[in-house]
């Protein structure tokens, strides 16, 4: 599975979304499932899947589907 596939699957599983929902409109609190609770769960899944540990700043900066990809680049996860 490519990094993008892994990334997308986590979004779809955590927030009950389909591939069509994954776009630049998908932001923190833009859907009910992506609230604080959903955010923590998603961060934990990403950390497991990519075997990384986010910095505090990056967890609170992670405010959209697109932003997440940028942040993962800091941990050498290429898309």
């Amino acid at each position: 599975m490519s990094n993008l596939e892994k990334y997308n699957k986590i979004f779809m599983d955590c927030f009950s979304l389909t591939e069509a929902d994954l776009n630049s409109d998908l932001k923190y609190q833009s859907i009910p499932a992506w609230d604080s609770v959903g955010h923590v769960g998603m961060i934990a899944e990403l950390e497991d899947a990519f075997d990384i540990m986010f910095e505090t700043e990056d967890i609170i900066d992670f405010n959209s589907y697109e932003k997440g990809k940028e942040l993962l680049a800091k941990y050498d996860i290429e898309f």
Partner: protein
């Protein structure tokens, strides 16, 4: 006893700081609040659609000062639910943000039926399922509890509390009340602790304290609280559900290192908010304990026959006696005329034991409810909500993790999404499982013991 009537002595001090950093004095708080409350008749009922904003807090204080009785309803509650609650309670007024975002008071009815003379404040029990079951509190309940909390936390007028919980939630409100009567300052925000806005405000305003339900402490751990630099913090509190002994130990160690007092507490809306706390310097070795009764209150345990248990380490239902025990519940307007159902004693529904030193430990629960992200969720109520939509279900589980059994053939994923919608809780709290048939006895009662917890 209306301690908000003597806030004038703090007039020049800062009472509130809004999320944009603007400061509001106690003088402003009282002038704004009194001006709003003057528009309403004393001893009438007002629905207050609450948010952590200066206008909302000032309106709340004004209503309490004038003897207008507010019902605190969270701003996330849907209009449909508010309409249902208006039908049940017939409030004379509603105080909510208008189109420009400023709070406005509107009249909904002329004088309806009378309220019990000592009734001062009404809180919801769950806040999430839209249940019309409310808790009736007196002025004495409100201010004796605030005073007791201010005393054991040693809140001073130099304290600055930042909000992490809604003002409509009993724990969130207790932080606001105990700080206001102490002349302290409250930094108001609805921003979640996991977002950037919260931490920007935190760094700018240097809070000395905050409170958190277990889920907030889970998030703080994820945010690596241990590595954060927050020198302004003097003490932090935890309530709203059981935090695992393991996490308590972690925070105990982190806080010790940072010079912050970590205070584990216990309470229920039915007792206004607070019933117990663990003195921070007694926590070591007692990470699983809820501590001791707050000043002015006392605990006792009763067995199944209702007799008081005197020996240590014997579990029984935890009961509390104190001036903060509510009058009782209400489900409609007529019941707001009712007097004191509880007589100052609350049967908590929690099963606890007391050790030889007098510290209390929760070991189980008599009633069928779970705490999910700090919210009490009644399992039977959830089953009823599902049944109304034609879904037969049996709910069990643990705090923050409800298990919902449905019969084979039901679409589990859609039930899970429906649960999130009905309870306003994140879907990750729910696991939906199928079973051939819901186990029942001959009388049709669900046999929960046959379901895997």
């Amino acid at each position: 006893m209306n301690r908000f009537s003597s806030l004038e002595r703090f007039a020049d001090r800062t009472a509130l700081i809004a999320s944009d950093g603007q400061q509001y004095s106690y003088k402003w708080l009282l002038e704004y609040g009194d001006a709003v409350a003057q528009q309403a008749a004393s001893r009438s009922l007002v629905f207050l659609i609450g948010s952590n904003t200066p206008q909302c807090i000032a309106g709340y204080v004004g209503f309490v000062r004038r003897g207008v009785v507010p019902v605190l309803i969270n701003h996330t509650v849907s209009q449909e639910m508010i309409d249902q609650l208006v039908d049940a309670y017939q409030p004379e007024y509603i105080f909510r943000p208008g189109e420009n975002g400023e709070y406005e008071l509107s009249q909904l009815a002329t004088r309806n039926s009378q309220l019990y003379p000592e009734l001062g404040l009404i809180l919801t029990t769950s806040g999430s399922t839209g249940s019309p079951k409310f808790v009736r509190l007196t002025y004495k309940n409100l201010f004796s509890n605030a005073q007791s909390i201010a005393e054991y936390l040693e809140i001073s007028s130099d304290d600055r509390a930042i909000t992490t919980l809604p003002m409509t939630y009993s724990y969130g409100l207790s932080i606001i009340n105990s700080h206001l009567i102490s002349g302290a300052c409250i930094i108001l925000t609805d921003a979640p602790i996991i977002g950037k806005d919260f931490w920007t405000l935190f760094k700018e305003q240097n809070p000395t304290t905050f409170g958190g339900v277990p889920f907030i402490y889970d998030m703080l751990k994820k945010l690596r609280f241990a590595r954060m630099n927050c020198p302004s913090l003097k003490y932090i509190t935890q309530a709203g559900g059981h935090l695992s002994a393991e996490l308590v130990k972690e925070y105990e160690d982190i806080c010790k290192q940072k010079g912050i007092k970590f205070i584990v507490m216990y309470g229920q809306t039915e007792a206004t908010a607070r019933m117990a706390y663990m003195p921070w310097d007694k926590l070591e070795g007692r990470e699983n304990s809820i501590g001791i009764a707050i000043p002015g209150g006392e605990f006792f345990l009763i067995d199944d026959e209702g007799s008081v248990i005197n020996q240590p380490d014997v579990p029984g239902e935890l009961c509390y006696r104190g001036p903060n025990v509510s009058l009782g519940y209400a489900t409609c307007r007529a019941e707001l005329a009712n007097g004191d159902d509880n007589g100052g004693v609350l049967h908590t529904g929690d099963v606890a034991k007391r050790d030889a030193e007098g510290f209390y430990y929760i070991v189980g629960r008599k009633k069928r409810f779970l705490k999910i992200y700090g919210n009490r969720v009644n399992l039977d109520e959830v089953q009823t909500l599902l049944l109304k939509r034609g879904i037969e279900a049996a709910c069990v589980g643990k705090d923050d993790a409800m298990k919902v059994y449905v019969v084979t053939g039901t679409d589990c994923n859609s039930v899970r999404l429906l649960l999130a919608e009905l309870t306003h809780l994140n879907q990750s709290a729910f696991t939906v499982l199928t079973i051939d048939a819901i186990p029942r006895n001959d009388a049709g009662k669900i046999l929960y013991s046959k379901l895997e917890n």
